[in-house]
């Protein structure tokens, strides 16, 4: 389990995170929801130990995260960070060279699933396909937790559906997934847990199936209540 405990982060005078707490479990999809600029990406960076915090702590399986968290967590940014003139094969090779946890078998399966050609240059790919390569490079690592920053944003509906399909497949297996999004509509049925964020704080954190069961509300219903108060 990843436990985010009361983390605080300031950029200059701006308090981006003002005591954020939530948990994310293995085998579950946790979704951090918030309109842009509420610090979703900062939280991801904090979990990856990429940004020093001004307070609070993050635990993985009860222990403070440190350098070794890279071996157990992968961060998939919202846009691919490979050189655009590289081919898909070359960027996969790059991952093999840098990460011990690279799983070629899964990578090949993902290529096949997304119907991508290894010889294609990242430059020449559509936006949707570029997002798929980005996802592939992260998903092919054998780690316990996957963090994905806005995996559905700015791509066409068919790519979105395909990516949603990956979430439900054995390609994700029983790993823990944390995704950020500002658009929940498409993926309400996919997530286990929603964490609603605003102004550097968690407004509420709930299990989506439970809210449907006990209150007859959709995730969007809860969002409307919480954000429009």
């Amino acid at each position: 389990m990843i436990e985010v405990n009361d983390i605080k982060k300031k950029f200059g005078r701006k308090q981006v995170l003002n005591g954020v707490s939530f948990t994310a479990e293995k085998g579950k999809i946790t979704c951090i929801i918030g309109i842009n600029g509420v610090g979703k990406t900062t939280i991801m960076n904090a979990i990856m130990n990429l940004t020093p915090l001004n307070g609070g702590q993050i635990l993985m399986n009860g222990e403070s995260i440190g350098k070794q968290s890279y071996e157990q967590i992968t961060f998939i940014p919202d846009a691919i960070i490979m050189q655009p003139n590289m081919t898909i094969a070359e960027s996969m090779q790059f991952m093999t060279d840098f990460y011990d946890s690279w799983n070629q078998e899964r990578a090949t399966e993902l290529l096949d699933f997304f119907k991508l050609q290894e010889s294609e240059k990242i430059n020449n790919l559509s936006k949707g396909n570029r997002a798929k390569v980005n996802l592939l490079l992260g998903l092919a690592l054998d780690v316990d937790y996957l963090l994905m920053d806005e995996p559905f944003s700015g791509i066409d509906i068919f790519s979105r559906e395909q990516i949603a399909e990956v979430f439900t497949s054995h390609l994700v297996e029983d790993r823990g997934v944390i995704i950020t999004t500002h658009e929940i509509n498409d993926i309400e049925h996919l997530i286990d847990k929603a964490v609603l964020l605003d102004e550097g704080k968690v407004l509420t954190e709930f299990n989506s199936e439970e809210v449907r069961e006990t209150e007859g509300k959709s995730v969007v219903d809860v969002m409307r209540e919480v954000y429009q108060q």
Partner: protein, 124 residues
Amino acid sequence: MNVMFNKRDPVYVQVIRYFKEQIATGMFESGQEIPSRRELANRLKINPNTAQRAYKEMEEAGLIYTERNLPSKITKDEAILKSVRQELIMEAVDDFVSSIRSINVPVDEVLDLVKETFENEDDK
């Protein structure tokens, strides 16, 4: 397999309902193999934990059964299969009655209309 999920009922409840409909209409037959939990989640694009929950509930209700490592199957218990059909019919009737009651129509008039509509539907 294509299910339109609504957003306010628990997804596992909607999955169970889908299975019941398939059983009632004979699309799922007694003893028929059903997809694995993972497959179901994948096909319906729902959370795998939700698919797991639906299967668990259906197993407890005796709608499906699993023998050790084999794929789960639809029950062979005729009484249960029959009761599923009965349950769906009664649910639909209850819904219908409660919505028609609010319009205050005599039952005979309604029944005539129901028959008429039914026959017209058949002609289509």
